[in-house]
Symmetry: C2
Subunit: 122 residues, 2 copies
């Protein structure tokens, strides 16, 4: 299994000071945004080689195959790169909840509404 | 117009070393992920006060109201926070293309397919 990223892909990435790019996981059929995580070159290489989303855990400082302990894996259908090369969008098929809290999406911690939506400015 | 973020919101954010959180913009009706940008407290406060997406430009080192030069604004319907407080998901109504390249989404620079999808492992 290749852990070396294809140089043709690597050359397109604009990594941060820690060698990482942001990676957004989106459920392929519903369009739900599940989570934001991070990838280094090896994580992206493993993701593309295995078809299973693999990230770099900034808190643990190690590679992390999504679902390796929870079994809530992400099968990856495609990876798209953004215009400035520092973010990826993964189209995935999520097994079970994406979030360690048990929620389908990690974006369920809080919701803030603009004043225009709340009607404060009406 | 308030540029001070509500302390009840500010206390929930886990900012990076530069005081920023990631912000994903998603078109509210199609589910298309448009772009990934960054917000400091003031950008989020302005976004919530005006209902217009305002980011922090890391390259220019200044606040940046989306569309202020291009007129391709983003009306914000809601802002959701993720489980560890370092990423936001904006539900937006995008006017015109989101990307400075003229594409609807910034995630149109390149697409990479896993070996499992390409059929290399079939």
């Amino acid at each position: 299994m290749s852990t070396i990223l294809d140089p043709a892909i690597a050359s397109q990435l604009k990594r941060d000071a820690d060698g990482l790019v942001a990676a957004i996981a989106q459920q392929h059929d519903t369009g739900e945004v599940l989570m934001l995580a991070w990838m280094n070159d090896e994580a992206l290489a493993l993701t593309l080689a295995t078809g299973q989303a693999t990230y770099w855990s900034r808190s643990r400082g190690q590679l992390w195959r999504k679902g390796e302990t929870s079994s809530n894996t992400q099968r990856v259908l495609s990876v798209r790169l953004d215009c400035d090369g520092d973010a990826l969008l993964l189209s995935v098929e999520q097994s079970g909840p994406a979030c360690h809290t048990g929620n389908d999406s990690c974006f369920d911690a809080a919701q803030f509404l603009p004043a225009t939506v709340r009607g404060d400015n009406a």
